[in-house]
Symmetry: C2
Subunit: 352 residues, 2 copies
């Protein structure tokens, strides 16, 4: 824990934040099939090494909502290796856990007497691993049933009408620090937009005031998984819809790593967009270096530290303007291909 | 444990035997979707109630080798409810566990320090949940990765030629009783037949003689999952191919409950065919009452006790010979349908 003296961490909740691991992405590709797992393995290793209190994931842990046997087995193996151990969990969940965790067990995984959970993982679902089917199950429910992960932010949505959702935060206490963790698993952007614009359609439950802990003492985090980039305002969520009592927002789904918390003017909260741990589109945003965020919260203060992921396959995005290349004849296909080959080789050499 | 005094069970391995639970069978049928799970739940409850040392399954725990999220979650929930608890496991596995259990962990589940396993379950795969794909994984591997089940009897089969398999028994000791448990997950009957007829293609490893425990002291059980009924000898396994050192064979795959151990003349072993816990074909064999077997082994002796399953949906199979029915005109479709309706109603009334 480096520079933090022991007395500090007793009242400090230390969270590793990551998102969009897309386990199973390209699992049939001979070269890239292991990429998503290696990055997730690295994330879990960082969590262990930094001795965080918990690992928080922002959705799309799985690339598909019906993952293959291989993907399920590998995900389970990674979680079992890193999350089950004798390390004592040093925070308490003081909210009604049956409201937080909608599985058959209804409690946070480390409180189950039949498992030694040393690193609790909390995750919402994304659009890739969204709940579906008769039983409204996500692939994340499988990990939750195994007690390897705490799946939260799953809303019961009715089929018709705008509907109504209620967000019950997971109330976490560590010493004098109190964190209210709100989760909102992916909902179709259009629908969520309509909900945000319908009075009382989105209910945010606040912790009750108690002796020694006022409502304002809670540090309020929201994790969501929605479009943020506004190519079309209907298909993205405007951050100004979010309530002002929030202190910190983890924005999943957007794959570009914009992990340094950005203040939203007039709203009083900061947003971190960790970005995916594996590139799933050949776009500029995915070529930026990938990071995870160490978030250390003490009272109403927090310190964000970004940590680079080193296992991620290098991905370079470059624009070539043919008319600027004096030695290329843009009308001669061979000449163009030759030039592009040269560029690619140059990039490859830089990585060797 | 009824009539067994305490001193007896210290040297007695008590096993509940069941097979072909076909979890997920008819999961989209509004009426029958819960049947397979209810029967499996009952089996696990019997195992708990009888306080057996272990539950042994003969394959086809899953109906499909890519089970739905619902089926996986329900299977995990049932196992977690019944198998994880503080009950001490009173036998030891003394064989090389990495040879017995081909998962990333390589040990019997109750020895994992991060889980409280009170009821160990051992299973081979069947033809419905057979290993496949690049990583040669079965749906049973998912439960094994979760540490909820000990998957054994999975052979590495090469693609071409007859191939060669080696069966390493799980060596189980409880007091003075020593049981060698051989597992042979389903292999295509034709191929297995060829293997049995090829010298050295099937290797049966025997426990080494030790002080106080000779090879002949081991009680040898085989669990397999193959066709037994000989409609075509190529597509069924002849029990005379099995080695004579076996004492007891659990035959999975055949759904008819023929659970009372039958001696195979000249072979020196008995076969139990527990039958499925859910009817998946509308045939006479499936209509027989379903049972599981309590097998109590002490030294080289065993006592089989069959236990009826009470949660199984009643299924009556009857042949109607129209020419014997005096009040039916076999040439008049309405008359025939009316008669059949009467028969069905009579059967229904008997069950109410």
């Amino acid at each position: 824990m480096g520079d933090l003296p022991r007395e500090d961490t007793a009242n400090m909740l230390r969270v590793l934040v990551a998102t969009d691991c897309h386990l199973g992405y390209m699992e049939k590709d001979e070269i890239r099939r292991h990429d998503s797992f290696q990055a997730f393995e690295e994330i879990c290793s960082i969590a262990e090494q930094k001795q965080v209190d918990l690992l928080l994931l922002g959705g799309d842990l799985f690339h598909e909502n019906k993952p293959s046997r291989s993907t399920l087995v590998k995900a389970i193996e990674i979680l079992r290796h890193h999350c089950l151990n004798d390390k004592p969990v040093q925070f308490q969940v003081v909210s009604d856990q049956t409201l937080n965790f909608a599985n058959a067990f209804g409690h946070v995984n480390y409180e189950d007497p039949n498992f030694n959970v040393g690193l609790p993982v909390f995750s919402i679902h994304g659009n890739h691993d969204d709940p579906a089917g008769v039983d409204n199950l996500s692939a994340v429910d499988i990990l939750s049933a195994c007690n390897l992960l705490n799946y939260f932010g799953k809303m019961a949505l009715e089929g018709s009408g705008v509907g109504q959702i209620t967000l019950y935060p997971i109330l976490i206490k560590k010493g004098s620090t109190a964190v209210a963790l709100y989760g909102l698993g992916n909902i179709r952007d259009e629908r969520l937009n309509r909900m945000f614009q319908t009075p009382h359609a989105v209910q945010w439950m606040r912790p009750e005031s108690q002796e020694g802990c006022q409502v304002s003492d809670w540090f309020n985090i929201l994790v969501l998984h929605q479009n943020r980039v506004k190519t079309n305002p209907k298909n993205a969520i405007n951050e100004h819809f979010l309530p002002r009592f929030l202190d910190f927002v983890v924005w999943g789904h957007e794959h570009e790593c914009l992990i340094d918390p950005q203040e939203v003017p007039g709203m009083g909260f900061h947003i971190t967009q960790p970005g995916s741990s594996v590139a799933t589109s050949l776009i500029d945003g995915e070529s930026k270096p990938k990071h995870v965020l160490l978030l250390e919260i003490k009272g109403n203060q927090y310190r964000p530290t970004k940590i680079p992921l080193t296992s991620v396959r290098p991905f370079v995005y470059e624009e070539i303007v043919l008319k600027d290349e004096t030695d290329v004849d843009p009308n001669d296909q061979n000449s163009v291909l030759e030039h592009l080959d040269k560029v690619v080789n140059l990039i490859s050499q830089n990585f060797q």
